[in-house]
Symmetry: C2
Subunit: 468 residues, 2 copies
């Protein structure tokens, strides 16, 4: 095989070495050059093709690096033996699509969505200003790998915020910054150990439920009354961990009174290594009185794992949440030796740190509280006019309300009629981890993403169509 | 208890209702007001204190919301029974600390770190420009919750990049964007199922090893030769999944030849549900010949899970990686019904999309390739002068090299001598998941974060101190 003829083209867009490489590779792929076959020496091939030897060497080097040929010392190059070659032949053409146009036209004119923030609610100008500051002023180290638990600066800012706004006294070293609660629950599962029996209310925040289920957790569904989770059920079912939202239960909206909180803390302290996961997802929005301190603020024995997020209060797209671990759990995590890398970019951490530290967050919360309070009050005004149709609860906090039909309407029928009128409302049954026997008669209305005008239009319609 | 005397102060910084609330709360906390005790009616208290009744009502509402008191219909307010009160009393003072000053003075004058990017290597100006663009021009929807797998725009841009640069033909719908490989491996563990026996080379990328171990995976350590992982070992040990880095094994630096790649693919195809996890962490940096297509580019049966990252090629602090799942695995994930929320902010996704789409990434890679090639060549030049001390491998790609002492020096002694001279080098034994019996004699030198001047200084010193 010393007569390798390669049709080189001087006007090709590919350099000579690449043409040689391509040719030989093709011959091998097509099986025309077979395993064990000897290639001409680079000197000979260069002479035959009237090119420089270094050009051939480059091609041979690449073929050899990719394993098509191998150099046998003092003998030359040989075609390699392959275990059946697999090549991607079909070249995919990606359709020219504009992601913006992909979103199908909404099936609903009005959507009382339970997710999302008020349109225009993100402090875009401030964020842009801070992001410019951070990207201009910060040194090079901002782009190197950071602290796996989050940068000291943002952890300190969060600790200060928790202290003043939520009555939680923790050390910045107890805090882990993470990209959303789903991620933090995954991480928590690693830290807590894998054989936990976790109690959750029914209904509950289903996303957290599925996070834990997909990680392989054993979930125990426990009862709930108007004050929150039933403590006796925890004992009865042998749970060692409980997931609760004392500030504003999702979806039912109740605020856990202090007495129940104390009972829950007592339950956790009654046995070693019992933990309460407190998800404080929307405590920033409380429209009457001052916010109730978080459960973690009363915990002096290290039983409460606190989860907070900027998804509701700032924007879900920013992807920053945080977790406060009791010191013993943090120590256990650190002693694993290997920590999972932080999931929030250092620029975002720095921007958010400035946002908190320079008072922007407080002002933003005040603004949003006013925006949401107006919507809340509007909702309540219309719901009061609907007392012949439904009772409501979960008011004075958060950005959603629970309606219980008192005129015989079922959840299913309520949703169906609303849909016919172009209005999306949500069933409580969607948030059950265990379906109840009797027919559901409750629906959920989120008002964060609705404009006031739309709330008025939709509520007027609901009042009409939900009549019996 | 109708004679509640509350010392109200007109000049207090707290409003009246808050003073009433604070007073009663304190009395209850101190046990001066006991469970079951009746409070004066709001009308009476208002009269006694000479203030408006609505002020008292506000205080009572808050106390009631927090569960300190409860309203008994037609009777009035009563102090609640508490299960032992737990209050955080001690107010923590956070030490005024500047995070920048926390970093201890480096113990080493030179550090051949295996992590990190070249100083000044992050395209800060472009990033700032794009970030300003994104935050100015993008509409409000950018701040609402996004696609759990990543936005369509960035997934398309990554698919196009993989097609042209890595020979991987995948649909954007096969891609999941995630904040770092640690996170993606966590997610992959959920998707792949929990009873996998995962084979890894010894030594390997230890971070991935610990990720998987902490998730509860069974890891099998398999042999390695100069071409990469030993296929027979896979069969012998009953692995059903294998984690490899064919483009540039970490830490050993070898490039897996095509023949071995084909054998590996064949192994995967020999049985149902065998998977290869291909971690292509630094394939962007290849200094000789063109890059070798990724293993995933040869996979036509959907056995290869491809992991790519911008941590090495752009910056570790940006926290963007991606995973290409075979269609069947992606389908399995989607069919779980609940997806874990994306861990990268939508702004970062959009900025990176523009960075890729508008050609910045290609130019950045060319620039960095030149920067790293200079450092690489410098390293190689000095190492060639050290042939009486050590052989080296892993060159022509990536940003680190492997040295094997040939003068009798051990890894331990080599590291010790370097340390004495103020130089940090890394032992291969640190990357073993199973220690070997004989004494190690290899060290790793990363050159990404070193300036050329420092490389010269440090290499000259190493040449001296490693002499026997």
């Amino acid at each position: 095989m010393n007569d390798l003829l390669i049709p080189l083209k001087e006007d090709s867009r590919f350099p000579m070495y690449r043409q040689i490489y391509d040719h030989i590779k093709n011959e091998i792929q097509k099986g025309k050059m077979k395993a064990g076959e000897k290639l001409p020496s680079s000197r000979l091939l260069a002479k035959n093709l009237c090119i420089s030897r270094s050009t051939v060497d480059m091609a041979y080097d690449q073929l050899s690096a990719e394993g098509y040929i191998e150099a046998v010392p003092c003998k030359g190059y040989y075609v390699c033996q392959m275990e059946g070659l697999y090549f991607s032949t079909e070249k995919k053409v990606f359709p020219e699509k504009n992601p913006g146009q992909e979103i199908p036209a909404p099936a609903y004119r009005w959507d009382f969505a339970l997710n999302g923030i008020a349109p225009g609610g993100f402090p875009q100008n401030t964020w842009r200003k801070l992001s410019r500051e951070v990207l201009s002023q910060e040194g090079d180290s901002l782009f190197q790998l950071g602290d796996p638990c989050g940068e000291p600066g943002i952890r300190l800012a969060v600790a200060e915020y928790l202290h003043s706004a939520r009555g939680v006294d923790c050390d910045p070293d107890q805090i882990i910054i993470g990209a959303g609660n789903d991620y933090l629950l995954m991480l928590l599962w690693v830290i807590l150990g894998k054989n936990r029996k976790i109690a959750m209310e029914n209904p509950t925040y289903l996303s957290a439920y599925y996070d834990l289920v997909h990680m392989g957790c054993q979930i125990i569904s426990v009862g709930q009354d108007s004050q929150g989770i039933c403590i006796e059920d925890l004992e009865k079912n042998g749970a060692d961990t409980v997931y609760v939202m004392p500030s504003h239960q999702f979806p039912m909206g109740m605020v856990m009174p202090l007495k129940r909180r104390m009972e829950l803390l007592k339950w956790a302290q009654d046995q070693e290594k019992r933990y309460i996961i407190e998800d404080d997802y929307d405590s920033e929005f409380r429209y009457k009185g001052q916010p109730i301190p978080a459960l973690a603020g009363f915990d002096q024995k290290g039983c409460v794992i606190y989860l907070g997020t900027f998804s509701k209060s700032l924007a879900p797209s920013v992807r920053v949440s945080y977790m406060v671990l009791p010191p013993a759990l943090m120590e256990a995590y650190l002693s694993l030796g290997h920590l999972f890398s932080v999931t929030v970019s250092r620029t975002d951490q720095k921007i958010l740190e400035l946002f908190l530290r320079e008072g922007y967050y407080e002002r933003h919360l005040n603004r949003m509280r006013a925006v949401y309070k107006n919507k809340h009050d509007l909702m309540v005004r219309y719901l009061k006019e609907m007392s012949h149709i439904c009772a409501f609860s979960g008011e004075n906090a958060g950005v959603h309300l629970v309606l219980r039909f008192c005129n015989g309407l079922t959840e299913k029928e309520g949703i169906r009629r609303a849909k016919e009128a172009g209005i999306k409302v949500y069933g409580v049954s969607d948030y059950r981890i265990r379906q109840v026997e009797k027919e559901e008669n409750m629906v959920l209305l989120g008002y964060a993403t609705m404009e006031e005008k739309d709330i008025e239009e939709a509520m007027k319609k609901l009042k009409e169509i939900w009549k019996i």
